[in-house]
């Protein structure tokens, strides 16, 4: 079964995500790279730290891949999320989706990052000069049927 869903300790590799989804019958690859920003709500951020419930996070990312296959018609999805300390400017998440046509690839990529932020069990801690704070997400969408 195609698709790459991985929690990674250490730097993320965009090329491996693209390789995992590429193929000669696909004309479009959309990617999303989330990087650690140097500020949040006007406050300088020195680095980010991510923590995950690793096996559940990978399972939920795979579930998002299944949603994309049924909604957008392509099984060619890669979702990589880094855990541990992430320096400003470095990627914390990489998503790649390949499809026959551009609209499906772009819409599926957008769906993947929205769903990842909503339901994948990963948490972010922002480190400031001399302090740190866990970021808590909004109440999630309906998680169970």
């Amino acid at each position: 079964m195609p698709g790459l869903y991985r929690i990674v300790e250490g730097p993320l590799d965009l090329e491996s995500a693209i390789q995992a989804v590429s193929g000669p019958d696909r004309g479009a690859i959309a990617t999303f790279i989330g990087t650690a920003r140097d500020h949040h709500d006007g406050r300088p951020v020195q680095s980010l730290e991510y923590h995950a419930y690793v096996p559940m996070a990978e399972a939920v990312m795979r579930q998002i891949g299944g949603e994309i296959a049924s909604r957008f018609g392509t099984p060619h999805v890669a979702i990589l999320h880094r855990i541990g300390r992430v320096a400003v400017g470095d990627p914390s998440v990489i998503i790649a989706v390949a499809a026959a046509h551009r609209r499906e690839a772009l819409a599926a990529c957008s769906h993947a990052i929205e769903r990842l932020k909503g339901i994948v069990p990963i948490w972010k801690k922002e480190h400031y000069a001399g302090s740190a704070r866990w970021i808590e997400g909004p109440d999630p969408p309906a998680l169970t049927s």
Partner: protein
């Protein structure tokens, strides 16, 4: 029965450990598990928005607990 409850992110930091073991009754739900966890870990008493999973799938507070599941409780997610 005794169940082991995995904690993540701020909950883990508050408890000072990755998991806690609590005693619950035979017909307990995840909500009962959470009450027992908070009784054991005072730092979690102010937490108002826990999410639950059973065997790595989200579950509601009224989900019954058999004691054989992998149970986890954690705050709203913030990855990305």
């Amino acid at each position: 029965m005794t169940v082991r409850v995995l904690l993540f992110a701020r909950y883990r930091e508050a408890a000072g450990k990755a998991a806690v073991e609590v005693e619950i009754g035979e017909d307990a739900t995840l909500a009962d598990v959470w009450e027992s966890v908070r009784a054991r870990v005072p730092a979690l008493r102010e937490e108002r928005r826990p999410l639950f999973s059973c065997d790595r799938v989200y579950a509601r507070p009224d989900h019954p607990v058999t004691g054989r599941e992998e149970i986890a409780v954690f705050p709203p997610v913030s990855g990305g």
